[in-house]
């Protein structure tokens, strides 16, 4: 039997709240963070809604308790805020001895692109122009190392970038490293900030909704981009027992599979999704009927929601569990989505609740079922499945279990 790994701390920052309490409060009030873009200068500013965090970088730096002030990307700031929260929650803040055996596995897709695109705007006109301080934070590993340095981790540090499944893979990797005994505990998660690059990238693919997204609705029109970060502290059962630590739940299972169908579109029958969900259930030694709630990938695109729906149908048969997409609250936070939704899953287990799927009216014709539309409190939630599916067909699923 593989070693058990528990979640001992969580941290989150998103358009619906700056920490786990304000985030949960927004969900209780059915308040989405999707709205007007006020921070990124784009010709689509008034046209494309986003789920932005309404704080400028220097305000984020204050929240992040940033020690070294020189060039820092927004992605790093968001990640640092969430990582610090998770560490504090797990009573590890400033605990040098324990941090020495702690690894960090982060995830990002944009990295420091929020700054690099400013550099490039000048550079493209004149190769001698552009502030170098804007481009040295470009690579994905930079934000991880910056966060590690700020929180005091100096051993194992890694960054995964598999598009929208990235931070689900980080969490998985953290669990595996702990099970192998390579590290005792890990700070795992991901972070992404809104950028001109991603707004234009998704817009060029024509999958951005000009209204609030409608996951799993027949008339859905695409996704809304969001930004944010989520981090969890995960520790082995041995450590939790030894130190008598409080914990939220267990990361009981996970699965990673590749759709191998197309660079951006999912296979109509949701093959990769089906495989990652099936692997996850099996790895948790569970049966499909044990899953109480699926926090779906549910971006609101025509393609994803149908594929994911079909995959759920294949896996669960007639007994589809309660499911919803919280991207209707947070927007699609790209590489951070897996971790943000993992934190939401942990909160759901702690509060024994199931989240609603906003903006739903009409079930998808080809699917016979539809998501939960109101917050269900006082609901038995023992096992939650969380899906994150990325471009390139990278499909990842996590399972969290109440103990």
């Amino acid at each position: 039997m593989p070693k058990k790994v528990f979640v001992t701390g969580i941290g989150i920052i998103s358009s619906i709240g700056l920490d786990q309490f304000s985030v949960f409060e927004s969900i209780k009030q059915m308040k989405s963070g999707i709205g007007k873009n006020t921070l990124i200068d784009s010709i689509y500013k008034d046209e494309i809604p986003v789920a932005e965090i309404k704080l400028k970088n220097d305000e984020l730096a204050g929240l992040a308790l940033l020690k070294k002030r020189e060039s820092v990307s927004r992605t790093t700031l968001l990640g640092l805020i969430a990582a610090r929260q998770a560490l504090k929650d797990a009573h590890l803040e400033g605990n040098g001895k324990q941090l020495r055996t702690t690894g960090i596995i982060s995830a990002t897709s944009v990295g420091g692109m929020d700054k690099s695109e400013n550099f490039y705007r000048e550079f493209i006109r004149d190769k001698n122009k552009g502030h170098l301080s804007d481009v040295i934070t470009h690579d994905c590993g930079e934000s991880t190392e910056r966060i590690a340095s700020e929180i005091g981790i100096d051993g194992y540090a890694s960054t995964i970038s598999t598009a929208c499944s990235s931070s689900a893979n980080s969490i998985m990797m953290g669990v595996r490293l702990i099970r192998q005994g390579i590290i005792e505990r890990a700070v795992v998660g991901g972070t992404d900030s809104l950028t001109l690059f991603t707004i234009n990238g998704f817009n060029s693919l024509m999958i951005l909704d000009r209204e609030q997204c409608k996951p799993f609705d027949e008339n859905r029109n695409g996704l809304n981009l969001g930004e944010g970060a989520g981090f969890l502290v995960i520790e082995s059962e041995e450590i939790v027992n030894r130190d008598n630590k409080k914990f939220y739940c267990e990361v009981s299972g996970f699965g990673n599979a590749c759709d191998a169908y197309h660079q951006t579109a999912s296979s109509p029958e949701g093959n990769g999704a089906y495989l990652s969900m099936k692997k996850a259930v099996e790895s948790a030694n569970l049966k499909t009927e044990n899953i109480d709630y699926v926090n779906a990938h549910g971006t609101g695109t025509k393609n994803n929601d149908l594929s994911e729906g079909k995959a759920m149908e294949r896996l669960f048969g007639k007994n589809i569990p309660a499911f919803s997409s919280t991207k209707s609250f947070t927007g699609h936070t790209l590489a951070a989505a897996g971790a943000i939704e993992a934190v939401l899953s942990v909160i759901a287990i702690q509060n024994q609740c199931i989240y609603p799927n906003l903006n739903f009216k009409t079930p998808v014709k080809e699917l016979g079922f539809f998501p939960v539309t109101s917050l269900l409190l006082n609901t038995r939630v023992n096992h939650i499945m969380s899906n994150s599916f990325g471009f390139g067909g990278n499909n990842s699923t996590l399972i969290f279990s109440k103990c």
Binding site: S42, I43, Y44, S109, G111, S116, E117, Y120, R121, F123, I124, K127, N128, L132, V135, I136, H138, D139, C140, G141, E142, T144, E145, I153, D154, G155, Y156, A157, S158, T159, I160, S161, T162, A163, N169, M173, R176, L177, Q180, L196, F197, N200, G201, N203, S204, L205, N256, A257, C258, A260, Y261, H262, Q263, T264, N271, G390, F391, G392, G393, N394
Partner: protein, 352 residues
Amino acid sequence: MLKAYINGIGIISPQKTFDSVGFPNEIVNFDETLSMKCIEPVYNQFLDPMSSRRMSRIVKMGLCAALRCLQNSGVEMPGAIITGTGFGCIEDTEKFLGSIFTNEEKLLNPTPFIQSTHNTIGAAIALKLKCNNYNSTYVHRSFSFEHALLDAMMLIKDGESNDILIGGLDETTPDYFTIKNRIGCWKSEPVNNLMLKESKTKGTISGEGVAFFLLGNKKNDKTFAVIKSVKTALKPGGEDDILDFISSSGILQNEVDLVLYGINGDVEHDEIYYNLTNGKFKHTPTGYYKHLCGEYDTSASFALWLASVILKEQSVPEIVKLTPFDIEKINNILIFNHLKDNGHSLMLVSKC
């Protein structure tokens, strides 16, 4: 203990590595250079011209090296595909980013955006093979390849997968080179790559490469070597860390027959290596590799290929030796790479 057998290799580099069986007969000498570029294969051997027309250079190189690796190993369907890259698909990133400003955000072609995501090559390989198995991509500077390797070794140990395809990939573009030059990464004067270690000035020379390995849980007639361990650390504790690493691999320090150092000709950066070659590793034959491939985040993958070939052929090419030595049996090779003021990575590879 984790371990993995290297049962196939496919590598594209600034040397003639793609079509050679072992160490290339001819060394490519970049006479006066700051940037070493790969010798690209004839893509038509593996890719059909229609579909490869829209692929960027790094995707084509990645696919070819991966397919050559599979061909060499005799494995048709890998149990997992794991890639590591420091900067990912720079060409496509630049293309899309440039188009945003040139076209003022209007009527943008999505293809470079799609291809700019870091896992594009891993996904392209899976797509080509219709491989639904585990797939991941690490993008963490000079640890990127080592993380992919560790992931694979853990999958093998868990019994989760076998015949795992891992790759280290990084490309250079003129803009990437220019930006890094402005940052101060490269030498101020072009050098002959083979004279790199003599150049006691600041900066190094740029390189690139794509190297894929097929890792298995058993030895077979195609096996090059066995990887015994890999480790990365952001702030390593010094030389004792290296000694600890060696002993955790199950061997004694005097059983290390050769150390391959990531010496890159940067006088500030190389100091840590020479402290070892003159100190704790004074009696161990020393080699280096970045004069053959240049400096790039996943150059450890080139070093792993080199170590594999040395172990299989039981011979160290003269061009690899840092200082002259004779060597009879080569059982264990330590690969040590580090970033100035920052992390180091270690790999131990053995004959089997």
